[in-house]
């Protein structure tokens, strides 16, 4: 056993010497390999963590939102729908939501203006999200002016900011009184943006949704499940452009790796012959190639994964931010909670380490059975 270990270590010694002498080739391979693992793992970590976090956060979302549709588009919902919905069996409560968008030409950002039901706000005051405070460089006590529907300017004093920890959902929020909201947008008192419904028994949610759309045919109920599922798909990197980029990177890598790993040069074949002539067994020669493939691919894998972890969870995926931000001016500043799935890491391991190692071993298999006497002449 100790002699087996000593032998393997010696073979590893030789493998490393052999790798080191082809420094250029192997370092470039390592860099490309690490980069591919890094991109794949970053996308994987990011999407998985965002999905999990979104589903936890959105647990608090309304069980059902009822929108009114007019000519196939969203339209404000009349408040008398409230009574009809409350009248449906199993509905505990139905409440109007007041929210809308405000485009701020000063910074070119879109805000979400909302009159909350469960949070009281003083007359003439607003509470703003951290993102707005950041892009407008305003704080508590400052005054924020809006262009109202009638062309007049309405000014509000900032009464506070939403907690920084909640930026992921509140960065662009402006909380305002109901009176202020209706006055700003000229929104009639008879209407609301939509209606949130809560039910007694979550199992009945679908039945109740069906009843609502039967009784109020011009409405569209959206249940919480769908909201959460929407975010599953938002962070489903297999569905986006990300996957196109990744596939391209992967394809380029496979071609590169195949060429580098499988092309046994005449020089390498000769070396295998020499090793066999001086008493190495075929299995020893294959062990060299196995170690070669495993060393390069394992270290690339480990390095790529660790870099990706740092990138996503310590730097909040700063490389992805441009893609996520897109053209938005306002972007939440948030740290991602590291939900990582060992299963996914395992899959990535098998997708990256195994194919490369195999690609290294296979061609050497044929070379390793050459007759040792071939090195006696040349």
């Amino acid at each position: 056993m100790t002699s087996w270990i000593e032998k393997q270590r010696s073979i590893l010694d030789y493998t490393l010497s052999s790798l080191i002498r082809r420094k250029g080739k192997n370092i470039s391979l390592f860099i490309v390999y690490t980069l591919v693992v890094f991109i794949l793992a970053s996308a994987m970590f990011f999407t998985e963590a965002m999905k999990r976090e979104a589903s936890l956060i959105l647990k608090g979302a309304p069980e059902m939102v009822v929108q009114r549709l007019l000519m196939g588009r969203y339209d404000p919902i009349p408040l008398d729908y409230l009574q009809k919905i409350r009248g449906i069996r199993g509905v505990i409560s139905a409440d109007a939501r007041l929210w809308g968008y405000y485009y701020d030409p000063a910074v070119g950002a879109n805000y979400t203006v909302m009159a909350p039901r469960n949070q009281s706000i003083a007359q003439g005051k607003i509470i703003i999200g951290k993102g707005i405070a950041r892009v407008r460089m305003i704080n508590k006590g400052d005054i924020l002016s809006f262009h109202a529907y009638d062309g007049q300017v309405r000014s509000f004093t900032i009464d506070g900011e939403l907690p920084a920890a909640s930026e992921l959902v509140s960065a662009d929020l402006i909380l305002i009184t109901e009176a202020g909201f209706r006055d700003l947008f000229g929104f009639p008192a008879s209407h609301a943006t939509d209606i949130v419904v809560s039910v007694r028994n979550p199992q009945e949610l679908l039945t109740i949704a069906r009843k609502i759309s039967e009784q109020l045919p011009d409405t569209r109920p959206i249940i919480r499940d769908e909201i959460v599922r929407t975010y599953d798909s938002v962070f489903d990197w297999r569905g986006g452009m990300v996957i196109v980029l990744i596939m391209m990177a992967l394809l380029a890598f496979v071609i590169f790796a195949w060429e580098k790993a499988s092309g046994l040069s005449a020089e390498e074949k000769r070396e295998i012959g020499i090793l066999k002539a001086i008493g190495w067994e075929t299995s020893d020669v294959i062990a060299v190639k196995t170690y070669e493939g495993s060393v390069v691919s394992f270290f690339s894998f480990a390095f790529g994964i660790l870099l990706a972890y740092g990138h996503v969870f310590f730097s909040s995926a700063f490389l992805f931010a441009p893609a996520l931000k897109g053209w938005s001016v306002l972007y939440p500043d948030f740290r991602i909670t590291p939900f990582i799935d060992p299963h996914q890491v395992g899959i990535l391991f098998f997708l990256t380490v195994v194919p490369y190692t195999v690609a290294t071993i296979v061609p050497s298999w044929r070379a390793a059975i050459v007759d040792p006497d071939s090195v006696m002449r040349s």
């Binding site: 010497s17 080191i20 909640s166 959902v169 909201i227 986006g240 972890y309 590291p338």
Partner: protein, 129 residues
């Protein structure tokens, strides 16, 4: 059996009989170095999982607080893409917002390459619409 030539200390080639330099004799074995790096890498991967678990636990109350904000304000969406209303509130968007005409249609805004169509479009729940 023949005796070993190596055991004789007298050099065979006298005209350039220089002994090995200390440096060459003292180099660390490459495999040792490799195994140390391998062990470090494994440790760091382990530390990564450990850190993730630890951070997740530390973040649980924070996530709870955010969920609380979502609940009190009756919010429905994450504030990730503020460029258009159907990217700001994908779950609430119209059926006919830009890239939602067809679930695979690419979209004007960069976020459209990341944001998929809302759940309602991908899988309609039974007999709602």
């Amino acid at each position: 059996m023949p005796t070993s030539p190596g055991r004789s200390s007298k050099p065979l080639i006298s005209h350039r009989s220089r002994k090995m330099t200390g440096k060459a004799r003292l180099t660390v074995r490459k495999s040792s170095l490799c195994l140390v790096i391998f062990g470090t890498a494994l440790l760091m991967l382990g530390a990564m999982f450990f850190h993730a678990t630890y951070q997740r636990q530390a973040d649980t109350p924070l996530i709870g607080r955010v969920a609380g904000v979502v609940k009190t304000l009756a919010l429905t969406d994450l504030c990730l893409f503020t460029e258009a209303r159907y990217t700001r509130h994908p779950s609430q968007a119209d059926l006919f917002s830009a890239f939602q005409d067809h679930p695979m249609a690419l979209e004007h805004f960069p976020a459209g390459s990341i944001v998929g169509p809302p759940a309602t479009l991908r899988k309609l729940h039974d007999k709602l619409d």
